[in-house]
Amino acid sequence: MAHHTARPLAESEPALKPKGKGAGKRLVEIPWWFIGIMVIALWAAFTILTSANYRQAFSWIIVGITVTIRTSLAAYAIAIVLGLITGLGRISSNVVFHNAARMYVELVRGIPMLVLIFFIALVGVPMAVGVFNSLGAWLISIGLEGLGTTLTSMSNQAVPMNIRAIIALSVTYGAFLAEIFRAGIQSIGRGQMEAARSLGMSNGGAMRYVILPQAIRNVLPALGNDFVAMVKDSSLVSILAVRDITQVARLYAGSTFRFREAYVTLSVMYLTMTLVLSLAVQQFERRLRKND
């Protein structure tokens, strides 16, 4: 799974063991990088608390935090569903289902997220609204007034930009998560399926009660890492004028020319969120390993 995600904290073991003895060895093992980040975070927190400009920037930017969190959570929830369905499709023997899933994954993974966001917001959604409208017109023509009128009166305004942002993020991440789910399912030994089948379970039942619970447990850390990545990528939706923390930071910088304050504060906010989330994922991974 070497795709877009850097895993900030998931590297537990350095590849090369230092050759030193005693103190020298310990010096290497101290997580200096973490101390460094802590120092930066403390300095940033101190500055935000003590400098009037930074305080002002912070009070502006924090307004966008609900949109950032809401967008990330909603998009992730949809992406999980999309990813699970597509992941099952990728290993399905049904030719249509399998190829549809493969096509979706390949299409989405071949287009940069920024372009996808533009595409869905400016091309995809208006096109879909047009399709609904003509569908409604057709329904009216065959005498289904009520449903038809509902569809013809649907306008672009009915799908506000922050909904489009959620659609774009979930479509993108649905493809990433599909690969995680597929790998998770394929990591469960073939014997499990055979055992379940010989107990008289149906194919679907075996998948649901035997394979998936184990597979999902295996991929939980990867899913967590992708949520961290999604929180970061949610900053891209600011191009749709969605008022997430990136957008309000841009507005603040544009109005005041305090670019430094705006972007230092913004970076610290993202860093806080991603570090907390990464640590949570790490803890969770440890607990899983203990229970094995």
Binding site: L122, M161, L240, A241, R243, G254, F257, F259
Partner: protein
């Protein structure tokens, strides 16, 4: 596997061919590359500088001019030729002709453009920048070169909106504009922030208006007319002026180009060049003389 590779190669080739078939002209030139001198006569550094007027001579030096290439009619990429064009290009071509300098145009994103000039990254920015006291703290402005009004751009079939009051009154209506502009600042004096959608480029805001995502766009009238020209069958300007402002070129603080540029702007008004260019880009209703700028 080999078959698969061959197949994908064929598909890729097909895509490339299809893409080429759709574009009769060659690919547009890189706008940020070498100095594009769209319409100005080629500058000959050896030629004597400005006639008569006794303007300063910049000795053929290069000056970097930041433009967005996405702000009609000041600067844009001409869809027919693929070349950058617009008011900024014509006027800076002429200013450099009379001052004996070479304009090097650079495509810069609007967000951060003023800051970049303040930091000395570029000598000048065009882009129809409104003169404001806040901006004047970090950059030097030239004298104003035109006065503009901020107006509302709406869809052609719009009946709900006659003026800003209608937008204020109807909380369902959304207003679009561009981040970091005086239009955005003006919008915030009328509406709560969550009813304003600030895009990073005006074309994006205008597209959002056409597709019905926002109901009006607050924009400088001359720019609004530029977008109107492109979409005359879809848009109209409504309502009285919301604010009247002067536009000026910006320079890093203390730039030695401010005085020569001011002299050139005056000379261009005196020679009638400015009037012609304004008429060409801002439409037949646009009449302004240097005295109007005061």
């Amino acid at each position: 596997m080999k078959k698969f590779a061959l197949l994908s190669l064929l598909v890729a080739a097909g895509l490339v061919l299809a893409a080429c078939a759709g574009t009769p002209t060659a690919a547009p030139a890189e706008p940020t590359a070498a100095p594009a001198e769209p319409t100005a006569a080629p500058v000959e550094p050896t030629a004597p500088a400005a006639p008569s007027a006794g303007l300063p001579d910049l000795g053929g030096r290069e000056v970097t001019v930041a433009v967005e290439n996405a702000y009609l009619p000041f600067n844009y990429i001409d869809p027919d030729s693929g070349e950058p064009a617009g008011w900024d290009y014509e006027v800076w071509g002429e200013i450099c002709r009379v001052l004996n300098c070479v304009p090097v145009y650079t495509e810069v994103a609007w967000e951060g453009m003023i800051q970049a000039v303040a930091d000395g990254q570029f000598d000048i920015a065009g882009d129809g920048i409104t003169i404001t006291p806040e901006r004047a703290e970090i950059v030097d402005f030239s004298d104003g070169y035109i006065i503009i009004d901020q107006r509302l751009l709406v869809r052609l079939d719009e009946t709900r909106i006659e003026s800003m009051d209608d937008i204020v009154a109807d909380t369902n209506l959304k207003l679009g504009t561009q981040t970091g502009t005086t239009n955005y600042e003006t919008a915030t004096t009328f509406l709560p922030a969550d009813r304003i959608q600030a895009f990073e480029q005006f074309p994006f805001a205008v597209q959002a208006l056409i597709s019905g995502d926002v109901d009006a766009v607050i924009i400088d009238e001359v720019a609004g007319q530029g977008y109107l020209g492109e979409n005359a069958d879809k848009l109209k300007l409504v309502g009285p002026s919301l604010s009247s402002d002067k536009l000026g070129f910006i320079f890093p603080l203390g730039s030695d180009l401010v005085e020569p540029t001011n002299a050139a702007i005056k000379a261009l008004y005196d020679s009638g060049f400015m009037e012609q260019t304004n008429l060409k880009y801002f439409g037949p209703d646009f009449k302004i003389t240097y005295d109007d700028l005061g």
